[in-house]
Each structure stands twice: as structure tokens, then as C-alpha cells.
Amino acid sequence: MDFVCNFPAISILMSLFSGIISSGLKQRAARMLNSILLLTVIALNATAFVYTLGTGQSFVYVMGKFPAPWGNEIRAGVLETMMATVFSLIMLLSLLGGEKKLHDEVEEDKIFLYYVLNDLLLSSLLALIYTNDIFTAYVFIEINTIAACGLIMIRQNGRTIEASVRYMIMSLLGSGMILLSICLLYDITGHLLMSNIKEEVISLYAGGNYSVPLTVAISLICVGLAIKSALFPFHSWLPDAYGYSTVSSAAILSSLVSKGYIFLLIKIFYRVIGLDIIRNSKIINVLFVFGLAGMIFGSLSAMKEGDIRRMIAFSSVAQIGYIYMGFGLGTEVGMIASVFHILTHAATKSLLFISAIGLTEVSGGSRHFNEVTGAGFRNVIAGIGFTVGSLSMVGLPAFAGFISKILFAQAALNNVRKMLPVLIVLGISTILNAIYFLKTVLRIYTPVETSYYKPLLIKDQKLYSVVIIMFVIINFILGLLSGSITNWITLGLEMFA
């Protein structure tokens, strides 16, 4: 086994221990440790990505002394390492971009806790991406939920506490269902490792045994993870949680936390149940319908919103709808489109949140549309970031969003029965996206005669500008190099099974 194979396990353990060490550190040291950790994790996972691309197959890393049917293991292929790299990169950028705001919104002596929570969140995300053991996945789902709840409530006001209570309640309903489903799967298959479960499930399915418990287990785990990733209509907690927490939290929650659960769901589709059985189980039709509904209703709610942060939050509901719609198509191409959209949404939504905070900062801290008029002139770099993010969400060519929309449309053409609804809803949703995002872009570039608010120059916010530029570059990379990225995703999904 090559030395690179240790990297996924090392990065999980490193982030777990950094969290523990940070809890005894002062604020600055905790921040330093977190940045170093994220850079190291990016480097390690990028190396592992190049390695898996070279070998052309995924590798299994055995945790502890016990071999396959008993022990716990990590499995990494192209897709896992790519996701881990992108997720940690986006987490780093979101933290750097929201750092100034963090000091305004969180009590000074609690800031080190924010970095503790982020380290734990990173470790749980990496574990969700890499683990090959379904019960380990459950434990890290819970760690992820607790850390995410902390990220919401670290900014203390009534709204955030209420939002985190609602978030916890929905999440706990979801994890209860996931746990029950794991118990059922363990009962009927006798395994906890994903690949072993799949073998048993296939033989059970072929023999027609235990078909009812199998269906129940599949639907429970799908619905549980859908609740946790805020698929419409389980999104009631989302606008408050994203809209009122501190900005780095909002960016991380919307672009990473919900995506971690979705990635686990993809893994379960491919590695635990098998895509054929999922396709025959009809549960994807339910996900398909809710995905379509989410695309429309998320956008409609975003249009009604008069608050720029909450508008972006509702737009997340619509984007999660896209991803589940891709699952619902039940084809390989649909999956590729969904995975690409995970990347697109992660890169774009964090850009939007971070640049929105720059716009509100030069508008007296108010987030209402009337106040942000002309903010694009007062904070040039934030205006550019917001425009790029909006155009990407709307789906203009050369931006990341365009590629995911075209992939979804192509995927729909392969599925005769679902083609028409997908294309219609995709069209409507694009128009709605254009209405509310371009409305905001026009407003931030409407000149105001006399402004009470002082402009903020680029040289006064160097770090912030660098972060926005990095995000914009990531968006263009996703948009312009989409060919090789979709190839990697295809390769990764083949390695998945």
C-alpha cells in the first residue's frame, strides 16, 4: 500500500484532534491552527485525488486490525477525494471571508469556540465523505448536526436560538429515521460495511426475500437524509438559520453541511443498495416530485423576500431541489448532473453569502432591499462577487450554473417519462431565478444621488477582496473546465460501486 493511502484517515484524525486542541487555545492561536489545518487537509486530499486519478481505481484503508467483514474501513476514489478537496477549500475561503464580521457578531471570548466547531465539522464532513461503514456514517451525521447547530447559535440572539432549536428538531427526526433504517439493514443483511451490505441486498432482492423490510429501510434512509439536507417541504428551519447566523456559518451550512448528507445519500444509492434496486423501488419518484416542487416554491419564496440574506437562503431550497430532481431521474447522467450541481452550488452560494455581507456592510448593516441600493458602487469587489454569483445561479454561459443546467437538461432527455416535467420546471425555475437575482443586481447598481453611507475601498479590505476573487475564479474554473470535471465525476461514480 502506498503512503498516500493514509492521507484520508490522517486528515480526518487531524481535524478531530485540532478541534480538541483548539478548545484549550486562545482566539488567535485557534484561528491559526484552523487555517493551517484546512491548508494541510486541502494539500493531502489533492494529493490523494491525483493519486487515485493515476491508479484509476479506489483504495480501501482498514481502520484498526480487523479485516473486511468485521472491521471499520475507509474507501477513497476520485470522487471522494475531489469532494474533500473542494469542501475544505470552500470552508477555508468562507471562514476567511466572514472573519471580520465574526468579531462584530460573536463575543470576543467565545470566538475560539467557533474554530473548535469548525474543526469538528470538517472532521465529520470528511468522515461522511470517506467512510465505508454505515454506522460510522450515522455517528458522524450526529457530530455534523451538533457542530452545525453550534455554528448557528454562536451568534446569540432570539432568532438564531429559535432557528437552531427548529434545526435540531428536524435533524433529530431525520437521524431517528436513519438509525432505524440502519438497524433494519443490519438485521436483514448482517453487515455494517457498505460493500458487504450491497452483496447481501442483491442476493435478497434476487431471491425476493424480505422485500417489505428492504423497501422500508430504503425509504426511511432516503427520507431521513432528505429531511436533513432541507429538501422541500422540510425546509422550514432553513431561512432563519441561514439568514441570521454569522455569515461564515451561513456560507458553510448552505454549501457544505447539507451537501455532506447528499453525498452520503449518493454513496448509499451506489454502494449500499445499488442503483438498480433504488430505481425499481419507486422512492426516487418521491424524491423527484419533491425536488421539482422545491425548485418552484423555493424560488417563489425567494422572490417574495425583502431581505437579501433570506432571499439567498430560500434560493438554496430551490438548488437542493435541483439536486434531488437529478437523483429522481434515476439515470447515471442524472447523477453526474447532480454531483456537478453540488460543486456548483457549494462554490456559488458561499460566494453569494460572503459578497452579500460586503454589500450590507456599506449600507449601514441593513439587509433590506431599499438600503442596499447603489451598494455595488460603494463596495466594488462585493458588487462584482454578487453579480458573478447571481449570473452563475441564473445560468449564463461560461459560469458554473450554466453547465449544471445543461447537464440536467441532457439527463432529462434520456428519460422519456420524466423529460417533459423536468424541462418545463427547469425553464420556469430559471426564469424565477433570473427575476429575483437580476432584480437584486440591478438594485445594487442603481446610482443614488446622496448616500449616507461611506464607500469601502479595496485596499481597506485586502483579505476579503482576495477571497471574493478566489471564489470568482473557482466559479469560472467550474464553468470553463467542465469537460474534465464531468469526466472525473463519471470516473468517480464508476469507482463508487
Binding site: T145, I146, I161, E162, S164, V165, L172, L179, C183, Y186
Partner: protein
Amino acid sequence: MGPNLLANYGEAVSMILFCIGFANLLLQKNLIKKIIGLNIMDSGTYMFLAEKGYIEGRVAPIITDGVQSVEAYINPIPSGLVLTGIVVSVSVTALMLSLTVRLYRRYHTLNLDEISLRLKKEGL
């Protein structure tokens, strides 16, 4: 179905408990009752696991009197899973309770709907 249900009454009871807990967590307005619902739901799952993991007449897999036959012992993994699950649910319950305390100190009520109403009025 009837005799099956009777033979597996443990599993049936645990599923009923799960549903009771689930409904309480979802529908109760009072936060403390919600948390009680959460605990009932989790206990239902653990009971299901424990029930599935036990085989009548066998003992925990610790070798006693030199008996090495597989037939004498049960699989230890379900019990291990129950223990892990209990740890998770304890920490989640503690977190929920602490959030409830914060909300109560601020709004002097445990009713989540009323808290939401008041937040809207505050217009924060």
C-alpha cells in the same frame, strides 16, 4: 401476520414506541415534551436492536467454563451499537435541553409557536 406479530411482540412494541416518540417530537408544542418524545423515539430504536440481537438461551460472548462453541453466545455488535447510540442520544438531549433553557430565559415560555410569534413581532 397475527402469529408472527405475537412471536415478535418485542419488535412490535419497539416500533409502536418509535412512532409515539416520533409523533411527539414532531407535533408537541412544548419543548420539554418534544425532548421527551425524542428520548422515547431513540429508546424504541435501541429496544428494537437489543431485541433483534438477543437469542433465547445464549449468553454474552465472554468465554465461560471453556465453552468455545459459537452456538453458546450471541453477536456482540447489536449491543455495541445500542451503547454508541445511547451516547449519541445523551449528548443530543443535553444540547436540546441547554437550548431550551436559553429560550426560556429569554421568552419565559416553552411553547415554540409562541416564541416564533414573538420573534415576528420583534421584527429582528
